[in-house]
Amino acid sequence: MSDDHDHHDGNDEHELRVSKIRDGTVIDHVRGGQALNVLAILGIDGSDGEEVSVGMNVPSDRLARKDIVKVEGRELSQDEVDVLSLIAPDATINIVRDFDVVEKHRVERPDVVDGVLSCPNAGCITTSGEPVTSRFAVLEDGVRCGYCGTIVREEIASLIDT
């Protein structure tokens, strides 16, 4: 379960890095180096005053090195977090209320991702200044633009529309 959650809670050094939150969402077991992409996908950049803590490349039993993201005051819905499965398939989502984890679930691959990603095909209509939101079908091993049909299997994080 939360192998390293407890681990770092009891460790002063980690405590300094990533503090506990009172109410909100903890996204744990994000692949090392993907935390900023997680925030980008969720559209969280701190400009709305959210309290966000990020731990990157933290030692983890499950992933060797993992990232962890804590968002104070915001409970993320399943739909919101499922899109994270594209870049953080092992992520676990902890909903925290009054310092307790009240819900814990894993991300699931959605069938379709609206927005979030932008098509890498320069010849695609969605990259031409039209009033259209990108749409990608999620394949077993990649994503596919719902407009031009381009398939992307690697570096999906690079498509994140920031």
């Binding site: 209509i125 039209e130 259209v132 596919r144 719902g146 407009y147 031009c148 049909g149 398939i151």
Partner: protein
């Protein structure tokens, strides 16, 4: 008046890919009626929308119209087709115009983009929303892939994709299939598709449609112009048998029933020498055809430049002008299926 069902996709209705053709005339009419129910007031974006039964229904209807165009001459009096061609076109545009007029309707034409508000920076989404107020259906050609899909989301009238960048060109595919059926038959077909397979939208549409017929497809091109991996992925998803890629026509030419040639465009190559070298290997003339079957049918979506030597034009092999002419009855059939409100589509034998 137009009451399109949003999100209706022909393929999603799971029409049976059956052998209804073997049945009676009543069954044929039933299949046409069922296809009409699904196509009526819907968009036509990709050849992926059609099952084998759908295609055969369309081709049968096109053949009927071709035999007796006068039977449908007044079916769409008062109907206006909006032509939006953001890229140059001769055959596609003129054959749509001819088809609509032969059905008793007329066209309104955006004209060249040089003289339109596109030049002022108008989005495609805005353009189609304006023109849909003028016309009962729209035909769109646009240089961007996915443009027809996107445009269809902004309009309620039927929108027909007449080419979206290197994407799809489904009405061309229908006339290609019609021509193949007339000349070589669609059963047990071995076809070679040669030239620019990377950017050739007619190739992408046709290759997918042919998976419905379990055709053996040979793709012949220089390495830099091979089929996009997306198209290959789709063909494999369809469990298409015998998909082969070649860099030379020579080894497979004798086995072909049909050779579909496309133009290799100069602008795909960094320099003139490279173009000349590559393009020269994918041209055919009388000498090339010595190794071919006497029954080989040669097709080309046109325009050709020098891929097919003029000396072939007068041979029994050449089907490319007939192919271009077939655009009219095929597009008449498609427009009628998209636009007709009445249930008696296809004549008197209908229930």
């Amino acid at each position: 008046m137009i009451c399109r069902v949003p999100g209706l996709h022909l393929v999603a209705t799971g029409s049976p890919r059956g052998d209804w053709l073997a049945g009676s005339n009543g069954e044929i009419q039933g299949a046409r009626h069922s296809l009409h129910e699904r196509m009526r007031h819907d968009h036509l974006i990709t050849s992926k929308q059609f099952s084998r039964a759908d295609i055969e229904t369309i081709l049968d209807y096109a053949a009927e119209i071709g035999d007796d165009p006068s039977a449908v001459a007044d079916r769409h009096a008062g109907t206006l087709l909006g032509l939006l061609f953001f890229e140059p076109s001769t055959r596609t545009k003129m054959s749509f115009e001819t088809a609509m007029k032969r059905l008793g309707g007329d066209v309104v034409d955006m004209g060249s983009i040089e003289s339109s508000s596109v030049k002022k920076g108008e989005t495609l989404a805005d353009t189609v929303r304006v023109i849909e107020g003028y016309a009962d259906a729209l035909v769109l050609r646009h240089p961007k892939e996915g443009s027809a899909t996107m445009a269809s989301e902004f309009v309620d009238v039927p929108l027909v994709n007449a080419g979206d960048g290197a994407g799809q060109h489904p009405t061309q595919t229908m006339l290609d299939l019609y021509t193949i059926r007339e000349n070589a038959g669609l059963d047990d077909l071995t076809i070679g598709i040669m030239g620019d397979l990377k950017y050739g939208r007619t190739v992408h549409s046709l290759a997918y449609a042919l998976t419905n017929f379990d055709a053996h497809q040979h793709f012949i091109s220089p390495e830099s112009l091979q089929l996009p991996r997306e198209v290959v992925y789709d063909l494999h998803q369809q469990d298409a048998p015998g998909i082969r890629e070649h860099d030379s026509l020579e080894e497979i030419l004798p086995s072909l029933d049909v050779l579909y040639v496309t133009r290799i465009q100069r602008e795909r190559f960094p320099d003139e020498n490279e173009y000349q070298k590559v393009a020269g290997e994918y041209q055919i003339d009388a000498d090339t055809l010595e190794a071919a079957s006497d029954d080989l049918t040669i097709m080309h979506p046109l325009p050709r430049v020098d891929e097919i030597a003029p000396e072939i034009d007068e041979t029994e092999h050449a089907a490319y002008f007939e192919q271009a002419h077939n655009g009219v009855p095929v597009r008449m059939a498609l427009l009628d299926l998209l636009l007709s409100d009445d249930k008696a589509i296809g004549g008197e034998g209908d229930e």
